[in-house]
């Protein structure tokens, strides 16, 4: 995903919180949870972030923190879980393709530090 929609969503989320809770004047940091198999490239989004925050007064000193979430897949056939990055869709234990992702495709805004 290009960084544009992510940044737009973060901004609209901050605006909403600001309206709901006593008008934020400055944001110190935003923490994202990014899954290992989401296609966000942390370096990339950090570059975009550093460029974008300068354009908004209350964001200009805001730091972007990124926490990675491990990708884990569950096999419906044998009931085991395994690391997705290494084995993808096919279960390494029983070779079934009846598997689904338990975690790892997150794009969450976890918290915002603001005053």
């Amino acid at each position: 995903m290009s960084c544009n929609p992510v940044l737009i969503t973060i901004k609209s989320c901050i605006n909403r919180i600001s309206e709901a809770e006593n008008h934020l004047t400055s944001v110190a940091s935003v923490t994202l949870e990014i899954g290992e198999v989401s296609d966000i490239v942390p370096d990339y989004i950090t570059d975009c972030w550093n460029w974008a925050v300068k354009k908004t007064n209350y964001l200009k000193d805001a730091e972007l923190r990124i926490e990675r979430i491990e990708a884990v897949t569950y096999c419906e056939n044998c009931g085991k879980t395994y690391p997705t990055v290494q084995y993808a869709k096919i279960c390494p234990y029983c070779k079934s393709d009846h598997t689904y992702l338990l975690s790892g495709n997150e794009y969450n805004i976890r918290e915002i530090e603001a005053c």
């Binding site: 995903m1 290009s2 544009n4 929609p5 992510v6 969503t9 973060i10 989320c13 919180i17 809770e21 400055s26 110190a28 296609d39 993808a88 869709k89 096919i90 393709d97 009846h98 997150e106 794009y107 969450n108 805004i109 976890r110 918290e111 915002i112 530090e113 603001a114 005053c115």
Partner: protein
């Protein structure tokens, strides 16, 4: 959303997915389409896989069987909508304003502008891109993707989410198979690795081969959606 106070800054717990708003919006749009008995098909592919040419070929098969319309999404220009209108297909051009994909809200705006109440089938031609459009639920009932022979059979491995999201993979430009090292069986195998339920149809938008089967697939889905 919880709040905890530190020295100066407070920490606001958000815990929200960036996709949350869009996913809710898409579900709402699908509900609305259900009530109006309109089937929305989201067509995705890389640039140049012949989305528009495929739609032109399809319109000859479909336009006398269902009331159809086409929404063309591009960053700029109106060439695709003009092409469709010239061919006698009701169409509208949407500009994404630089965005690489359509989301549910943009789709709804397009549909409202278009006036879809009397249409049975609307095909949304998404922005040519194998990455971002797969991530944003447009509110469509079904998703399909075109893989064209010159792109190579390895695309499902390289762009997994596109093939996981789609109900149908159309392999286009099979009239030039002889000139490329494109392995049909591998293309199907790789797509099924990503999505065991994906349907596959081979076509040539240029010669018309496979277009009746594709039209049939669409009609079957339209009927199911409008009947239930």
């Amino acid at each position: 959303m919880g709040t905890e106070q530190t020295d100066k800054f407070k920490i606001i717990q958000v815990k929200r997915s960036i996709f949350e708003d869009n996913n809710k919006d898409a579900e709402k749009l699908r509900q609305q389409l259900k009530e109006e008995k309109t089937f929305l098909l989201n067509l995705m592919s890389s640039p140049g896989a012949e989305k528009t040419s495929t739609l032109l070929a399809l319109s000859k098969e479909l336009s006398w069987k269902v009331k159809m319309g086409v929404m063309e999404a591009d960053i700029d220009a109106a060439v695709d909508a003009e092409t469709m209108t010239e061919a006698g297909v009701k169409s509208i051009q949407i500009h994404t304003g630089g965005m690489c994909h359509l989301d549910a809200d943009m789709t709804r705006q397009g549909l409202t502008e278009f006036g879809t109440k009397d249409l049975d089938l609307v095909i949304l031609e998404n922005v040519g891109n194998l990455v971002c459009p797969a991530e944003f639920d447009t509110g469509a009932v079904r998703n399909m993707t075109i893989l064209s022979v010159p792109e190579g059979h390895d695309k499902p491995l390289k762009y997994p989410l596109m093939y996981e999201t789609c109900d149908l993979m159309v392999v286009n430009k099979i009239d030039v198979l002889d000139y490329f090292d494109f392995d049909k069986e591998k293309a199907v195998e790789y797509a099924k690795m990503r999505n065991p339920d994906i349907d596959v149809i081979f076509i040539s938008a240029k010669t018309g081969e496979g277009i009746p089967q594709l039209a049939e697939w669409i009609l079957k889905n339209v009927k199911e959606w409008c009947a239930s």
